[in-house]
Subunit: 281 residues, 2 copies
């Protein structure tokens, strides 16, 4: 028992050391699944990396990791260093993005991860403590939906997290869930950078008519109601899904699209937030 306690303390020391080398840690959260959290994490990583920032992504969705697929990295493996005790090397993605995901540890597509909370926390701790993240400007943590074990552990384990990006779909049903997730950040005293409304409206590529397939305006409504910054709305674009399936991020493949431009505006706002953060005394 005492030995186990020592191990945990030792692990937390390692997490602190590794995290100290990373300038900004951002967590991407959403109460509800399927709002495009991973798509946003993957494209955000690409957008930052293109601006010559050094970027890492921790895919903390243990049951349904999808970052590797979106970045065209499926089938790759995490390699342990030959030097004893140095740690595990992340997979290198496009623009040299460092990626760690449960997907790299699973044997086949059909292997389910039937793990209860403690096992999931265990692997997240290892991803933070034993991965050779090195010096980074950004670590983006793609969290699974909800406010359970994984988001809780990540928030508690990463020292000085810069803040949370809250992703929501525009529907009212999503809004209720996202409000709870905002309550979660408040309760844990983690700064909320702002809300991103994803999948907001669809413009018919043939006739130009616009449809609010999944509703619209929900993100802005919450931001006003709860007095939280609104980072922007990103319209639905068929190419986003196609590009994700191909493993080629849409911000590069379809840089000229309305959707990519909306996305880059969000990126600008995040940079602005971080600049102001730096100016604080």
């Amino acid at each position: 028992m005492e030995e186990r306690m020592r191990e945990i303390e030792e692990q937390e020391r390692r997490i602190k050391t590794r995290m100290a080398k990373i300038k900004h840690k951002l967590a991407i959260l959403s109460g509800k699944g399927g709002v495009g959290k991973s798509t946003i994490a993957a494209n955000l990583a690409i957008a930052f990396a293109r601006k010559s920032y050094r970027v890492g992504i921790l895919d903390a969705d243990i049951h349904g990791p999808s970052i590797p697929k979106m970045l065209g990295l499926r089938g790759q493996e995490l390699m342990a260093s030959r030097i004893e005790g140095l740690g595990i090397f992340p997979v290198r993605g496009p623009f040299d993005i460092k990626v760690v995901s449960m997907d790299f540890l699973l044997q086949s597509d059909e292997t389910p991860v039937i793990w209860r909370g403690p096992a999931k926390i265990g692997v997240i701790r290892q991803f933070l403590a034993d991965v050779v993240w090195g010096d980074l400007d950004f670590l983006l943590v793609d969290l699974p939906p909800g406010t359970g074990d994984e988001p809780l552990s990540v928030m508690q384990l990463i020292p000085n997290i810069d803040g949370v990006l809250m992703v929501t779909a525009p529907s009212e049903v999503s809004q209720i869930v996202v409000k709870r997730a905002i309550g979660f950040t408040k309760e844990l005293h983690v700064p909320l950078i702002g809300i991103i409304e994803n999948m907001s409206g669809f413009v018919c590529p043939k006739c130009g008519a616009e449809f609010d397939i999944l509703g619209t305006g929900g993100g802005r409504r919450i931001s006003e109601e709860l007095n939280v910054p609104f980072l922007g709305r990103i319209p639905i674009d068929q190419n986003v899904c196609e590009d994700s399936d191909k493993g080629t991020p849409f911000v590069i493949q379809h840089a000229e699209s309305l959707t990519a431009k909306a996305f880059m505006e969000v990126v600008g706002k995040i940079e602005e937030y971080l600049r102001h953060l730096g100016e604080r005394p």
Copy 2:
């Protein structure tokens, strides 16, 4: 310790007694969030109830319960029986559907449920053991995304579960996640009734052009690859989201739409499955 063990045994006895009064128990699962699992659960309940079946829904999504919103039941409360030990009464929804959800226990929209696994399992056990479900033809369990604590507990706690309905979005990214969820049902030896491909294609209401916004065909591909029944594809319809937001299920509000018809075909296939189940020796 011994007393706690006795309590748990007693609780499991109560679960068995309550569940014995329910003819069919179906769990709605998807590896990935946001594929419309709750929408399908809510509309399935309505479809069965309209056919004069007695229906209950257990909303097992503890962090992001959305069934009450979709059925127009927000703000309602679970009431304990005045008769000591009888249990808690479910909220009555449209067509007298019995609904139990974490949402009924939360004080406000902003209350997050920051619970780790054991607490979540605890509340699900209570929902099964202490709710006066009564005699039902169907209990539909709307599970949260993933293959973690909640789905695992539900599968292990409900005796003789009839099977799982697996919901997927058509994209390839969703497919990988759903494959893992299918692996989960195999590992737990729970019958998989079939796959429902939701949000499959969008027909522009103005010009009639069809777009695979979120891809198409993914559900059928998995069903062929893994030799699992395919129950149907449900096209995207703006009204689905609007109706859910209003708390009026779309199978009733837009019964004549392509999407509602596709949905009713799925319902027919589930009934067929259950009939054959009854015929088994």
